[in-house]
């Protein structure tokens, strides 16, 4: 079962604060890569660097910044392939940012069964 982990920080200060040892995900990454449940993951640049793209009536519309303004911000992602939601929750709960922000565990879309 595949899940996208959206790694969120509670505030911009936390997201941009580098070098805090408690938030370093290196050992988590090593553990999950070792378990074979993490296929890829990256830290993302600040939402301020984002560009939101829309096309309406054939017109390209660009906005500076993320598509939704919240206090919390997505600062990274991981693709996880594990047995089920219980294992995904266990993996997510070990991510350091679970203590400083939150991890949204989002299953990959699967086509609904057709009767």
């Amino acid at each position: 079962m595949r899940y996208m982990f959206l790694i969120c920080a509670e505030t911009a200060e936390i997201a941009e604060d580098d070098g805090h040892p408690d938030r370093d995900p290196t050992s988590w990454v090593k553990e999950m890569d070792g378990r074979g449940v993490r296929s890829i993951g990256e830290r993302l640049a600040s939402p301020e660097d984002a560009t939101t793209v829309r096309v309406r009536d054939g017109q390209l519309l660009l906005t500076d910044g993320p598509f939704v303004e919240t206090k919390e911000l997505i600062c990274g992602f991981d693709l996880i392939d594990c047995a089920d939601l219980d294992e995904a929750i266990e993996i997510a709960s070990k991510h350091p940012m679970a203590r400083w922000g939150m991890v949204e565990v989002r299953p990959f879309w699967t086509p609904p069964p057709r009767s």
Partner: protein, 412 residues
């Protein structure tokens, strides 16, 4: 219709109703294990009971009704999978393969527990857990559940649809939790059952004699769970707690539907035999949350009169509960008990110390304050507190009780 035939029909009806309570959950659980498809499992279980209504009155009861129903439901599921489209079959086969390889052969007990734990999974909203548990484990219809919770049927259909979709799409597992997480997950199930019980016991938002008795359902489900997990003392304690409440039900509401405060309840109408049996089960159990709550209920239920209630012990037990499961409601109940044990002035002091932020919409806080102020003779303040409580009360009976109290002090 001859006499014999009439009896056969009656026997069949009784047997089917009994079988529905006993066999619904094992059948649904086994079919989910087999197919991984909740809707298919429930529909095929339903079909088996429909077939029983058709056959049993004509053919007489099968030798093994449970086995007959299980076989009929399973055959129906296999038949439906065989007839379904290739795509669906692929999907189902994939699901079955997912379930098959490393899973050891499961027992009926494991299947039923897996079903309960999936329904009460903490990744589902509490509303969804309650609805799913009543539908998939309890075998209630969607409209019965909707009515019991006073929501539109389509709301309940939607709620169940979304919950089952999340179970499927997010891969909420269908298995008994590992030993190290079992206690926590059992606590989660008990919270669902206790919520169902309380909803029935303290039905909020109006009267409806046709409404399903959720308290009885909760006791039935807890009894079932206790049989499946005989080593859990907390389940036993929750059952005892429910028993102690339920045994006093007849005295709790008067003929007009008004709630009778504990103080004025006719204790002769309490089921003393049931109370004694339940209270006796409490001896020696370890100190868990529900054991403490059951002990509090036992203090009330075994007291010969309101005045002879051991309020000191009740206040002490609420103190224990503050340690195990702290909440503003527990603090409120502790303050009420202290008000009874040491007098309203002490109670009021405790009441004022509660962080009431989360209790702003809770009518029992101003109601408790009103009662203490009334007993202290501070009538103008009591009047204000009664009015605040009445504004917040969602239950008509509570409202009438508070209004009566307000009138009593307005016109002494």
């Amino acid at each position: 219709m001859g006499h014999g035939r009439g009896e056969t029909v009656l026997d069949a009806a009784t047997a089917i109703l009994t079988a529905h309570r006993r066999d619904w959950s094992p059948i649904v659980a086994a079919l989910i294990r087999l197919t991984g498809d909740w809707d298919l499992a429930e529909e095929c279980a339903q079909d088996a009971f429909v077939k029983a209504w058709e056959r049993w009155p004509v053919d007489g009861l099968p030798d093994n009704p449970s086995g007959w129903l299980m076989t009929t439901a399973r055959n129906r599921a296999i038949d439906r999978l065989r007839r379904s489209s290739l795509e669906r079959r692929k999907y189902e086969q994939a699901r079955m393969a997912d379930h098959a390889p490393d899973a050891p052969p499961s027992s009926d007990v494991d299947d039923q527990l897996s079903l309960i734990f999936a329904c009460c999974h903490p990744a589902l909203s509490m509303e969804a857990r309650v609805a799913l548990t009543l539908r998939s484990v309890g075998g209630l219809t969607t409209s019965e559940i909707a009515r019991a919770f006073l929501v539109a049927e389509r709301t309940m259909v939607q709620r169940l649809f979304r919950a089952k979709r999340k179970i499927r799409d997010a891969a909420i597992p269908f298995r008994v939790p590992a030993r190290d997480e079992l206690d926590e997950r059992v606590d989660g199930v008990l919270a669902v059952l206790y919520l169902v019980f309380n909803e029935g016991y303290h039905a909020s938002g109006g009267y409806d004699v046709e409404r399903l008795d959720l308290s009885t359902e909760a006791i039935r489900l807890a009894t079932q769970l206790a049989e499946l997990l005989p080593t859990s003392t907390e389940i036993e304690s929750l059952l005892t707690l429910m028993d102690l409440h339920d045994a006093r039900r007849a005295a709790r509401v008067d003929d007009l539907g008004d709630i009778v405060p504990l103080e004025l309840q006719d204790r002769a109408r309490w089921d003393r035999v049931r109370i004694a049996r339940a209270a006796a089960r409490l001896d020696g159990a370890p100190l868990g949350r529900y054991q403490v709550e059951a002990s509090i209920a036992a203090c009330h239920a075994t007291a010969p009169t309101f005045d002879d209630t051991d309020w000191v012990e009740i206040a002490r037990l609420y103190g224990c509960l503050t340690q195990i499961a702290p909440s503003p409601v527990v603090a409120l109940n502790r303050a009420i008990a202290i008000g009874m044990a040491d007098g309203p002035a002490h109670g009021l002091r405790e009441l004022d110390a509660i962080d009431a932020t989360s209790l702003r919409a809770y009518p029992y806080l101003p109601a408790a304050r009103a009662d203490m102020l009334r007993r202290l003779g501070r009538i103008p303040e009591a009047t204000g507190a009664y009015r605040a409580a009445i504004r917040l009360a969602s239950n008509e009976a509570d409202k009438r009780f508070l209004e009566r109290r307000l009138q009593e002090i307005d016109r002494p």
